[in-house]
Symmetry: C2
Subunit: 201 residues, 2 copies
DNA sequence: TGTACATCAGTGAACGCGCGTTCACTGATGTAC
DNA sequence: TGTACATCAGTGAACGCGCGTTCACTGATGTAC
């Protein structure tokens, strides 16, 4: 029954929690992490401001939920980029590693406001769940490089921190207009050099 | 005359602009860059909210002023750190370079809220004046390394972006609890490796 | 040195606004018999 | 299958608040003569 469904859609939402998070992401993307308000998010979804309180204890809880979703999305973008790389040898593992970095940087710079929310101290990030998703990608990538003998043990050790620092730093500086995005290849090359991966160019 | 001075101190401030910026920094340091309000800043100084408008066109102008002052302070900290290094040879230039990085990281992690204001998209940074102060320090440091033959031309090229990305990234990740501060030496070592500077340890 | 006056640097009341959060409520849904 | 009722997922009005900004104003200061 169309009426039934329409009423249901209007009244008992069914997916309010997800809808609120999605709407919040739309608003953050547009107006920035400061300037986010529960009332605006509720209005965007078409629900009363107080409805949110059935799903989130307070505004901070919503913001943290957003943060965790964004970490997921970023990781998914990276996974897609890796999946596009064909082959299995040492050079494929290098290519995957590069594409992971490129995907990260591309996502960050194309979504500056979302990236600011993630890393600007706005949200509590659930380390166990989401940091480790980003972290695991990086760890696996480095492990693969090590397994193919592309990097040695001493470079493997602490590689995650080294790589993430450089890529995150470049993303952040580019977003804030302190580094031209076109310089990212330089940063990527320096990361490879610091890990002992020879550049082809 | 004491009375005269007291009245003057109360009324015509003389240094309101500076006082507002200083008070704002105190408040940002404590409560974060979001949560800064012109009214709170004015109250902190002991002046009416509208007084600020004789010195700053709007809130954003004050925030940008803060940002520029903070970039200065950070650069000054680094200059102090460099100044403590004795000697003139190649190894002194390496030591200076390391201390510059350490000073940057130490300042950032000890003032997370100030650092967030600088790099969180809150303020317009006056590139010509202040970015170049940070930039010039880095440029000079790298030039000195090159002059002493510690790094070669290909490493010198683009060195600023590479170093700043890594150090800024590590600072930001540490502040957000995504990297233990004790890992910074690893990052510093990797920077040196990527520039071709041999680690002593 | 004293006075008149322009300018400077503040005051304080008021504006309209959007915010987070609360509360008593009610319509829709699911379940037990 | 039908009914009674508990629970779920919303409504909407209201709260008190702090905000950025404006405006007409006034006391203090500096300057010209």
């Amino acid at each position: 029954m169309a009426t039934r469904t329409a009423i249901k859609a209007l009244y008992h939402h069914g997916n309010l929690e997800t809808a609120l998070v999605d709407a919040a992401i739309v608003l953050v993307r547009e107006y920035g992490p400061d300037h986010l308000s529960l009332r605006a998010v509720s209005a965007e979804v078409g629900v009363s401001p107080s409805a949110s309180y059935h799903h989130f204890g307070d505004k901070d809880a919503l913001v943290s939920a957003i943060g965790n979703v964004l970490f997921d999305r970023l990781a998914i973008m990276q996974e897609k980029a890796i999946a596009k790389v064909n082959g299995k040898g040492a050079s494929a593992s290098i290519k995957k590693f590069e594409e992971m970095g490129n995907a990260y940087f591309a996502w960050a710079t194309s979504e500056p406001n979302l990236y600011r929310l993630m890393f600007g101290g706005f949200c509590e990030i659930n380390m166990d769940e989401h940091e480790s998703k980003a972290w695991n990608l990086l760890r696996d990538g480095l492990d693969e490089l090590a397994a193919h003998g592309v990097i040695d043990k001493s470079a493997r050790n602490g590689g995650e921190v080294i790589v993430w620092s450089a890529v995150h730093g470049a993303s952040s500086l580019a977003i804030e207009g302190l580094m031209p995005p076109s310089d990212f290849p330089l940063v990527l090359k320096s990361i490879k050099r610091s890990l002992g991966i020879k550049s082809k160019d």
